[in-house]
C-alpha cells in the first residue's frame, strides 16, 4: 500500500505550437480520490490521457501502479488493472447495455459479471435496452460500468458528470463513492467545484498546463484567509476606491470581477453592515448583493483573476 498509485515528475506535452502540459509534478496515493480541476484548455484531459497511457508524454517521468507505459511488455498488464472513462466516447448505439458490457468484459482476465456490474451502476432494468435509447445520465453510467467491469485498482474519470442533470450527477457520485469504499483509487477531472469538494480528498487546480494550487479542498479554501465571500455591483457605474473596501472590518481580499466586486470576509454579519454604511457615506448605491461560503471557484479566481467558467 506504500507505493503511490501515480507519480509524475516534470511531465510535458505540446501539440504543434500549443503547450498543453508544461511540467507537471503529481503524486496520487493509493486509495485516494484525486481531482484535476481547471477551466477548459487547462490541460486536464491531456494530463489524464498521459496517465492512462493513451498519449505519450514529450518528456518527464511517469509511473502508474509501479510501472511505466514505455515498457511495452508491461502495457497490457497495466491496462488489466485500470478502469478508464473517456470524455467523449460514444458507445455503439445498436448494441444493448448487456451486450456492450459483455464485449468489454471479454478483454479482461479478471472481471465482475455483467449482472454484478449492472447492479453497481443501477442499470439492471436497462440490460436489454439499446444504448442509443438511453438518457445522457444512463449512457454515462454505462460508460463508467465499462470502466469498472475489469475490476480495476485505479479508475480514471474524465469529466464524468459534464452536461448531466443534478440527479444523474449524484448517482454517479454514489458509484464513485462505492468504488472508493471497496479500496479503489480514483483520478478524475472536472470543472465543477462542487464535484471536487464532494468527492476528492485532494485536488490540483490546473491553469494553462500547470498546477497552480494543490491540497485538500478545505486547505485550498482556507488559503483564502476567510470563509465567506460577499459579491456586489454598484448602481450607475459609481466609483469607490478599492482601498475603502479593503479597510472594512474582517475583509481579507478585494477582487474586482468585471463590473462586480468580490470581498473575501471572515464574518458576513460584520462585513455587510459596514459595506452598507460605506455606500451611504460615499453616496453610492448597490444594484446587487449576494454572499456565499467560499468555494474552490473563489480559490481559482483569487489565483488567476479569472472566472473558472469563462477562463
Amino acid at each position: 500500500m506504500s507505493t503511490p498509485a501515480v507519480v509524475c515528475r516534470g511531465l510535458r506535452k505540446r501539440y504543434d505550437d500549443v503547450v498543453a502540459v508544461a511540467g507537471l509534478d503529481l503524486e496520487v496515493a493509493n486509495g485516494e480520490c484525486f481531482g484535476l480541476l481547471g477551466p477548459n484548455g487547462a490541460g486536464k484531459t491531456t494530463t489524464i490521457e498521459m496517465l492512462e497511457g493513451l498519449t505519450p508524454p514529450d518528456g518527464g517521468e511517469l509511473v502508474v501502479l509501479g510501472r511505466r507505459w514505455d515498457d511495452r511488455r508491461a502495457r497490457r498488464a497495466l491496462q488489466e488493472r485500470l478502469g478508464i472513462q473517456l470524455q467523449d466516447t460514444q458507445l455503439s448505439e445498436k448494441l444493448t447495455v448487456a451486450e456492450t458490457l459483455r464485449l468489454f468484459r471479454s478483454f479482461y482476465r479478471r472481471s465482475h459479471t455483467v449482472e454484478e456490474t449492472l447492479r453497481r451502476v443501477a442499470l439492471e432494468d436497462k440490460a436489454h435496452a439499446w444504448v442509443g435509447k438511453l438518457s445522457g445520465g444512463q449512457k454515462q453510467r454505462l460508460s463508467v460500468a465499462c470502466a469498472l467491469i475489469g475490476r480495476p485498482e485505479l479508475l480514471f474519470l474524465d469529466e464524468p458528470t459534464t452536461g448531466l442533470d443534478p440527479q444523474s450527477r449524484r448517482q454517479l457520485w454514489d458509484i464513485v463513492a462505492d468504488f472508493r469504499h471497496a479500496g479503489g483509487t480514483v483520478v478524475l477531472t472536472t470543472h465543477y467545484m462542487e464535484e471536487a469538494e464532494r468527492l476528492c480528498e485532494r485536488v490540483a487546480i490546473m491553469d494553462r498546463g500547470r498546477v497552480i494550487a494543490l491540497g485538500s479542498p478545505r486547505e485550498l479554501i482556507a488559503s483564502l484567509g476567510a470563509e465567506h465571500v460577499v459579491e456586489f455591483a454598484l448602481a450607475d457605474h459609481a466609483r469607490v476606491p478599492e482601498g475603502e473596501f479593503a479597510a472594512l472590518p474582517g475583509v481579507r481580499a478585494v477582487r474586482p470581477m468585471g463590473d462586480r466586486i468580490a470581498l473575501t470576509v471572515e464574518r458576513v454579519h460584520e462585513a455587510v453592515p459596514a459595506l452598507l454604511a460605506l455606500m451611504a457615506k460615499s453616496n453610492a448605491e448597490l444594484s446587487d448583493l449576494e454572499t456565499h461560503h467560499a468555494t474552490l471557484e473563489d480559490v481559482f479566481v483569487a489565483l488567476t483573476g479569472r472566472q473558472l467558467r469563462d477562463a
Binding site: 493513451l54 491496462q79 473517456l86 460514444q90 445498436k94
Partner: protein, 343 residues
C-alpha cells in the same frame, strides 16, 4: 468460448450490421433487385416474332399473307406515315412496300431489322418461285451460360463482394474512430489483432449469406447454375472477400470522419464499377486501357467467378486472376497495418 474477445468482437460486428436496415438492403436486397431488373430487361426473347409492317397499297394483303408464312415474323398493315413512325420508334423492325421493285425500309445498324429483312426476303423469294439449292437441317441448341443473366450474376456477385468488403470494413472502422470508440478500446487490454480479426470473421459469416442470396435468386428466377465446383467458387469468394476487406482497411487506415472515408471509398470503387466488366464485357474498352482494366481486383475476381460459374474451370486454370487478387490482398493488408491510426 463465448466470452473470448474474438467471439465478442465478431458478434458485435454482426449485430451492428443486421440492426441497420439500410445496410442490410444495400448488401442483400440491392443486388437482387438489380439482377431481377436487368435479368427481365435483357432476357433472351427466344422464339418471339419480329414485327414487320406492310405499307398499304395495291397487293398489300397478298404480300402480308406471304410474309406471315414465316413463323419468325409478325405482320401488320400500316399507312405510309404510320409505317414510318412505327419504324422510327422501333415498334416494327422492317417496312415492306408492295411495288415493283419491292422496297425494304429498315435501319441497317439494328440487328433485329437486318434479321427481319433477311427472313422476309427469304419467304417472299420462295413464294415467287426461288428454289433452295442446298438441303439444310436446323439443330437448335440452348447452351446454358450464353444468356446475359448468366454473364450478369457472377459480375453482381463480384461487385457485391467488393462493396460489402470495402464498405463494411471501412465504414465501421472510421465510425469507431470518429466516435472515439477505437481510442476507448485501446485503453483496454484488447489485442489489436483480435479487433481486426473480428472484422474478417464477420465478413466471412456474411459472405455465406450474400452468396446464398444472390446465387439462390439467380437459380430460382433464371436457372443460372454453377458449372464448376462449388468448392472452387467458395474459395474464390473467400479470397475476394478478404482482398476487399484489406482494401477497406487500407482506405480506413487514416481517415477521421465518415464523410471523408465515404469519398475515398467511392473514389476507389468507381473505376471498378465502370471498368471491371460487371455489366458488360471490359473488352469493349480500347486496347490501350486493357492492361489497367485487367489489373483491377474486381476485374480479376469477375473473370475468375465467370471462369468457374460459366466455363466450369478449376482454380488451377485461373492462376492469373487468382494471383492478381492475392497480390492486392496481401499488399493492402500490409500497407493498412503500417498506416493504421489506432485512435
Amino acid at each position: 468460448m463465448r466470452d473470448h474477445p474474438l467471439v465478442q468482437l465478431t458478434l458485435t460486428r454482426l449485430r451492428e450490421f443486421y440492426r441497420e436496415p439500410e445496410a442490410v438492403f444495400w448488401v442483400f436486397g440491392f443486388p437482387i433487385v438489380l439482377a431481377f431488373g436487368l435479368g427481365i430487361a435483357f432476357r433472351n426473347r427466344g422464339p418471339s416474332e419480329l414485327p414487320v409492317a406492310v405499307q398499304r397499297g395495291a397487293g398489300d394483303t397478298a404480300l402480308a399473307t406471304i410474309i406471315k408464312r414465316s413463323p419468325q415474323l409478325g405482320v401488320q398493315l400500316l399507312d405510309s406515315n404510320d409505317a414510318r413512325a412505327a419504324l422510327r420508334a422501333g415498334r416494327v423492325a422492317l417496312v415492306v412496300t408492295p411495288a415493283d421493285p419491292l422496297v425494304y425500309r429498315y435501319d441497317s445498324t439494328r440487328t433485329e431489322s437486318r434479321l427481319a429483312r433477311l427472313e422476309a426476303d427469304a419467304v417472299i423469294q420462295a413464294a415467287r418461285g426461288r428454289v433452295d439449292a442446298a438441303r439444310v437441317r436446323d439443330e437448335h441448341s440452348a447452351e446454358p451460360g450464353a444468356r446475359y443473366i448468366d454473364f450478369l450474376i457472377p459480375g453482381l456477385l463480384g461487385m457485391n463482394l467488393m462493396g460489402s468488403g470495402i464498405w463494411g470494413v471501412g465504414f465501421a472502422i472510421v465510425q469507431a474512430r470518429s466516435k472515439r470508440l477505437l481510442k476507448r478500446f485501446m485503453a483496454t487490454p484488447m489485442r489489436k489483432t483480435h479487433y481486426l480479426l473480428g472484422f474478417i470473421f464477420s465478413r466471412l459469416a456474411f459472405l455465406v449469406l450474400e452468396i446464398a442470396a444472390l446465387l439462390g435468386f439467380g437459380w430460382f428466377m433464371f436457372h443460372v447454375g454453377v458449372r464448376g465446383s462449388l468448392v472452387a467458387l467458395s474459395l474464390l469468394t473467400v479470397l475476394g472477400s478478404l482482398t476487399f476487406a484489406g482494401l477497406g482497411l487500407l482506405v480506413a487506415s487514416r481517415a477521421r470522419t465518415v464523410e471523408g472515408v465515404s469519398g475515398l471509398m467511392n473514389l476507389v470503387m468507381l473505376p471498378m464499377w465502370i471498368a471491371s466488366g460487371t455489366f458488360f464485357a471490359y473488352t469493349r474498352f480500347p486496347a490501350a486501357l486493357q492492361p489497367f482494366v485487367r489489373i483491377l481486383p474486381l476485374t480479376a475476381l469477375n473473370d475468375a467467378l465467370r471462369g468457374v460459374m460459366i466455363d466450369g474451370r478449376s482454380l488451377a486454370g485461373l492462376g492469373v486472376p487468382v494471383s492478381i487478387l492475392g497480390v492486392w490482398g496481401v499488399a493492402s493488408f500490409g500497407a493498412a497495418l503500417l498506416l493504421f491510426r489506432w485512435r
